[in-house]
Amino acid sequence: MENNNKVTLKINGIQVTVPAGSTILEAAKIAGINIPTLCHHPDLETSGVCRVCVVEVNKGRPLQAACVYKVAEDMEVETATPVVREARRLNLELILSRHPQDCLSCVRNQKCELQDLAESFHIEEISFPIKGKAYEKDDSNPSVVRDQEKCILCRRCIEACIQLQGVEALGVANRGADSTVGPFFNKPLQDVVCTFCGQCIHACPVGAIYEKDDTARFWEAVAAPNKHVVVQTAPAIRVGLAEEMGMGVGSLATGKMVTALRRLGVDRVFDTDFTADLTIIEEGSELVERVTGGGTLPMITSCSPGWIKFCEHYYPDLLDHLSTCKSPQQMFGALAKTYYAEKSGINPKDIFVVSIMPCTAKKFEATRPEMHDSGHQDVDVVLTTRELGRMLREVGVQFAELPEEEFDKPLGISTGAGAIFGATGGVMEAALRTAYVLVTGQELEEINLYDCRGLTGVKEAVVPVGDLEVKIAIAHGLANARKLMDMVRKGEADYHFIEIMACPGGCIGGGGQPVPTTMASRDKRIAAIYREDERMVLRKSHENEAVKALYDEFLGKPLGEKSHHLLHTKYIPREL
Amino acid sequence: MELVELTIDGQEVRVEKGTTVLDAARSIGISIPTLCHYHGIDAIGACRLCLVDTGGRNLAASCVTVAEDGMEVKTNTPKVREARRTVLELILSAHPDDCLKCVRNRNCELQTLAENMGIREFTYEGEKPQFKQDDDNPAVIRDSEKCILCRRCVAVCQDVQTTRILFPQNRGFDTVVAPDRLAPLGETACIFCGQCINVCPVGAIVEKSYIADVWAALSDPEKHVVVQTAPATRISLGEEMGMIPGSIVTGQMVTALRRLGFDRIFDTNFAADLTIMEEGSELIHRINNDGPLPLITSCSPGWIKFCEHHYHDLLKNLSTCKSPQQMFGALAKTYYAEKMGIDPADIVVVSVMPCTAKKFEMMRPEMDDSDFQDVDYVLTTRELGRMLREAGIDFSALPVEDYDEPLGISTGAGEIFGATGGVMEAALRTAYELLTGEELPGLDFQAVRGLEGIKEAEVKVGDLTLRVAVAHSLGKSRQLLEKVRSGEKEYHFIEIMTCPGGCIGGGGQPIPTTDEIRKKRLAAVYTEDKNMPLRKSHDNPGVQKLYEEFLKKPLSDRSHRLLHTSYRERGKFE
């Protein structure tokens, strides 16, 4: 029976009714039939190029790609006839025959969609000689490595770069069997417009794009007797690491993470949430100053280094709108080698600052020449969630069984406001919790600002703060950021404050997070972030005692001279 | 319990004396990598992956180093990490780079180790050993090129099964694990139990696959393809498909098979019930006619071959009953063919078995009493899993369907054939009732259940005290049989299963198969038994009808022709 929104069809003889407009792939899922895919990605519009998902429609030829072919009333689909299986297998063999046979030394070993497919197709022989093409690896930048030899031309990275990030640093070049995926003139990513956000890594089904591995530098520092290794963990790590270690998506594991890091041999386990709270104080003060002093508005957040680089490339004329605050990671680095060094009596050159970040762009950020305000490189090495997971697996830490321990003091003390930095809208929500007090002198009653939350691409709200109606906007994913920035450029954005995060979902969906990261897993991680917020005794940055002590003992006041020197920065226009 | 106290990576830990450093570390959440180590079977410290720093001059293999009082162990120092990495890279350098077409892809300990240890390049590129694959038998394929010389298979073959086929040969870089004089398995006394497959960490020993033949039969419009599923497959297929061990998936398995295109989904449990009728009658017959006793079960083809090689004197004690798989095959191509009016030449019988030896059994020349090869192809649980994955069947989402009639009707007694002691229990349920006219008190016969290697019991059946024994794994069976041989023990009835745990621990079952997992599968078998409306073989209406329509009575002429067989003497090292 047909109605407007439903379609009834038969898949392998099983009758199934699905929403009109579904693909065969989606309909089959409902019928309990898996159709293998490779170029298809649940969050991206893809175009049926790999031909691994071919099925027979109405006994017809040619076979059709289930991932893009739409269902129709009374359609008859066969997904496992000999012809279909043979076609899929041969297509997979064609892909395998140009792929390096080096699973055992591949970064995606056991997390590889191609490897999974080879298993589920029960490949025992590859009909064609193994014949890849030789390409040079691009590891010229601090964040992302591209290994074209492994590329299977599924184009998911390109689609992620376009659809999620609006950048299109990658494209297809050449034709036919010579086709390659790469940047303009196949240059190193360093030399083209790339924000190093790492979303392409999540899109890649194989090991053709991955983060630059800096674990060796960590091990070296830990083993060096004269090094005092301090580690900071970004808000999103506590909801990503457990997943990386094989626990459920959205598992919250703050205490286990601290224990695990101690077991790796670091001297102090601190928290980026501490500097997130500090950021709120500085950035909140900056906002109040701009609003009251006639500064450039809307002011835009500056914690996401991918976003910063994006802005420097595409909106060099709007750099004034960026908050001058460094990101929490960099504030931490600068303080670790000044405030903490002083306080603990350690020579800052012996302090080795390690960041655990959900982010590949943070690796780039740490190497920016501006980030030396302590007199040293403020952050020495940035490791992604995945790299930390890798180290824990290497030394056999049974993560799920670990006891829970506390962060060290003082740079490990934080509030719920710091924690929600990890989710899109979190910085905004945290800032509003504090700005309200700064402006009105009163505490906000309802501190859960639901308007800021969720996976809608661009969120807007008007928040009354005293007499002022504060207009805010939030974007995550650079494609969404572009929408807001074009409005700002045209003068159509009458917001006071905009939060922009480079990655969809915010840092919990960062390019350094566990693979796979999809909208579905982002959703679960965001929920975990808010659980963490709820769990905290203090949930407003200005209530953080350690931050207060920092101002009392060291910085003086927000936006003070020392703050400006250590916690604020400037931006450089970059060419397109 | 005497305890020792030591520190591992700065943490204090107290463990029972005699505990290895490896286990002590595991108790505090430190999982030291291992490869040759296999709990309860193999601890020889050969692979050197589990090295730790115990303060001595050299690093120690934690799997064979016993924790001592005051010991200070470090599992994570640059030296330890480097040493382990070097060891792994050396192993990898001699291993083929063919994960993508390896049968153990995604279920390989070496692959997992490479990932866990973050191997990114090979420091050692060199000569890789070259060997010919041994696929000269119907059941097991050995690929020495993939062998990493961990010797787990040697341990299982020597110690657990005492078949003593596999052994390290040659030395140094030329070392190879193989039968004596590097003979093909088909020319040895190998019983094809496949336990070596289950312990192999990599893809060096695998079952011979009949998947392609089955796909071909399924897509041949001329063929009527029927499938039978062994008792142990319904409690392990879910596990193979990613569910937790012990998941019962009987109905989903039936649905899945139907979706693959089988024309009829039948059940080996039907033939198991039938076996009880025949074997029970045989037991009674032998008791009433002075033997030969003990009667020994004959459903496990690995055991049969073992007996043929090593216990010629006991061949007369073996029940003449074919295994349920072969009874099924013979009936499918006679009784069922007749009933359906299908030319038996067009019937293809596929078995889904937890067992690799069944592949050998189906090829035995004795097994063509229907005038055709009674069973055409045997698939292991793993092979069926592979077919389902390839066909994209979302197993966990499948609805539950029923077996086809008539050969799909069964009782709980048939189901417990999958567990060690199950045949005995099923036989007792029926024999007791046949002899006494009363139901066995408490159908659950606990004395023969569980993972104890040799189990004994006495059952009062009327005037008779029936002495029975159950053994599983051939090592244990050997112990039991030696006692019978020497006259130290006397029984009426003995059940022997080749594989530890019975069929649920067969060589065709999901990898890994450990004792912990065997226990879960056993529990599932008994749950399934409990859930059946009928739990005694003689209550099976399908079996009753079969006798009525076709066989007439147990041990009839037709039964003898189709359901019974004979055995042969084989050389000890054949």
Partner: protein, 542 residues
């Protein structure tokens, strides 16, 4: 209109130009001037006249005398003898030329009794003069359609004519038009990206009778409700681009393109888009991508262009020859059209004959004519005493037919039955000197060069096929390689994303089927029967 006593047609098709037609023309004009005949005799440039093998060609009307192989030095004699004295220069009127022109351009009465349709004006009018087109009834069909017919009626007429797409896919044109989704903005695209090797019919139509195509486009635009037409011409066709641009300019000037044509309220204009060297852009969705300024990679279907085409709007894409048929159908009616050809494939078809055949060139014949008739009657047979070995129909993506199939009727359905296709109308004839495997390598190199690289089977499969063919030619192949080749080709056919990948295996499959012995000779005897494969020849000697 002035009266001329003679018209001289100078063929300026590419082959003639290459062989000096323009030089001949300029000497001709000078000579006429010298004789004071410039007002009595008119020299007209025409599109291809057909007999390209004897280029350059002149035709003198009203006598209808064909001069072939005219060299600059011959012109003076032609003017002096023929035009002044009325005595044709028999030395230059090769008899075979006359015969050839007959069979090529006038569809033999014995076969149909029909006139040629699409090529009606080619070689007869000056394509650069719109008045000559109009003089032969041009744009009347457009007038008829705009003034007397509703768009639905135009579609109905074309539907009932049974016209099928002449680009290769043979989809019924009227049906395609009727499937076009409704929408404010729609587009009509004329596919002139004629890349199929051995095919040059569209080029010659565009160069010889560009207005026929423009008129067809305007009618089609009217029928489907599109006001913007694009004609996508491959970049290599410089002359076509020039001529079509000139034709568009002239039509605009006369109001035959542009706003409110014939006061009907219907507006239609045409823009040329030029390709840049990609065979795949002949595929309609790749072509659309290319117009959109992208890589010419096909999109998956559905949605078809009729729903979502150029810039997301409903779009109809028709081949040059298809559109050139349309004015005739509108003018003379569907019944007339159906009387030509076969019931399943009505109308005529333009074929391009190439390879080892006496009369290479262009012919227009009714559908259903047999291969034998084309080769031995129209084509003059195989030259130099060699024998026929193979014909490939439909271009490089077509099937290859052995001598046993010479009597297969040339229409869409009959050819499909034998694993081939009518395709673009290319007919490649090969004689016994050539090696099947060697030729297959040539085909596969083409597809390897032209695969867009988007989908797996075509991108990865084509080079693999090429490798296997090379193995056969090297003598290193085994019999199992033939099975693999067939398996791979079949897979490409059923699982590729677009028509290219689905049809490129056709030659492989048909050659494997019809010439298996020749492949086996290479593999088992290590011999190349035609003596072409060099590596095998050497071994053969030993």
């Amino acid at each position: 209109m002035e009266f001329y006593r003679n018209h001289i047609l100078v063929c300026t098709g590419e082959p003639c130009v290459l062989k000096g037609a323009l030089e001949v023309e300029s000497i001709l004009l000078t000579e006429l001037q010298k004789q004071g005949l410039e007002n009595e005799i008119r020299v007209i440039r025409t599109g291809c006249l057909g007999p390209c093998n004897v280029a350059p060609v002149l035709v003198v009307y009203p006598e209808g005398i064909y001069y072939s192989g005219v060299k600059p030095g011959d012109v003076q004699e032609i003017v002096a003898e023929h035009l002044v004295k009325g005595r044709p220069v028999t030395r230059l009127v090769g008899t075979d030329v006359e015969k050839r022109v007959d069979v090529v351009y006038q569809v033999p009465q014995i076969l149909t009794g029909q006139e040629r349709v699409v090529l009606r004006n080619c070689g007869i009018i000056n394509p650069d003069e719109i008045v000559e087109y109009i003089g032969r009834g041009g744009y009347e069909a457009l007038g008829k359609a705009l003034i007397h017919l509703k768009p639905e009626e135009v579609i109905e007429e074309v539907k009932s004519s049974g016209l099928r797409g002449r680009g290769g896919a043979a989809f019924p044109t009227g049906l395609k038009w009727s499937f076009t989704a409704s929408g404010e903005e729609k587009y009509l695209i004329c596919n002139a990206d004629e890349g199929e090797p051995g095919t040059f019919k569209d080029r010659l139509i565009l160069e010889g009778d560009p207005h026929a195509v423009l008129e067809g486009m305007a009618i089609a635009g009217y029928a489907v409700g599109a006001e913007h037409g694009f004609i996508y011409i491959r970049g290599e066709y410089t002359l076509s681009i020039e001529r079509v641009q000139r034709a568009i300019d002239q039509a605009r000037k006369l109001g035959l393109l542009g706003k409110n044509i014939f006061d009907s309220g219907f507006s239609f204009d045409v823009e040329i888009r030029v390709g840049a060297g990609a065979y795949i852009c002949g595929e309609e969705l790749a072509l659309i991508e290319s117009i959109e300024g992208k890589r010419g990679e096909p999109r998956y279907k559905p949605p078809y262009p009729g729903q979502t085409g150029l810039w997301g709007k409903p779009t109809v894409v028709n081949n040059v020859e298809t559109l050139a048929n349309v004015p005739h159908i509108i003018e003379q009616g569907a019944e007339w059209y159906k009387s030509i050809g076969t019931p399943g494939s009505p109308g005529t078809k333009v074929f391009t004959l190439t390879g080892n055949i006496k009369n290479e060139g262009l012919i227009e014949v009714p559908m259903g004519i047999t291969l034998r008739e084309i080769i031995y009657q129209l084509g003059g047979g195989i030259p130099d005493g060699h024998s026929f070995k193979m014909a490939q129909t439909g271009g490089t993506a077509g099937g290859c037919l052995p001598p046993e199939m010479l009597d297969v009727p040339m229409d869409y359905d009959e050819l499909a039955k034998v694993g081939s296709a009518l395709g673009s109308g290319a007919l490649l004839i090969m004689d016994d000197r050539h090696c099947i495997v060697d030729l297959l390598k040539c085909f596969m190199r083409f597809f390897n060069h032209e695969s867009c690289g988007k989908c797996t089977p075509c991108r990865e499969g084509t080079p693999r096929l090429l490798e296997l063919i090379e193995k056969i030619m090297d003598g290193t192949a085994v019999k199992a390689d033939l099975d693999l080749m067939a398996k791979l080709a079949e897979n490409m056919e059923i699982s590729s994303l677009c028509g290219l990948g689905q049809s490129s295996p056709k030659p492989v499959l048909t050659l494997l089927e019809y010439y298996q012995h020749e492949f086996l000779a290479h593999i088992e005897d290590k011999k190349c029967p035609a003596g072409v494969c060099k590596k095998l020849q050497v071994k053969g000697v030993v």
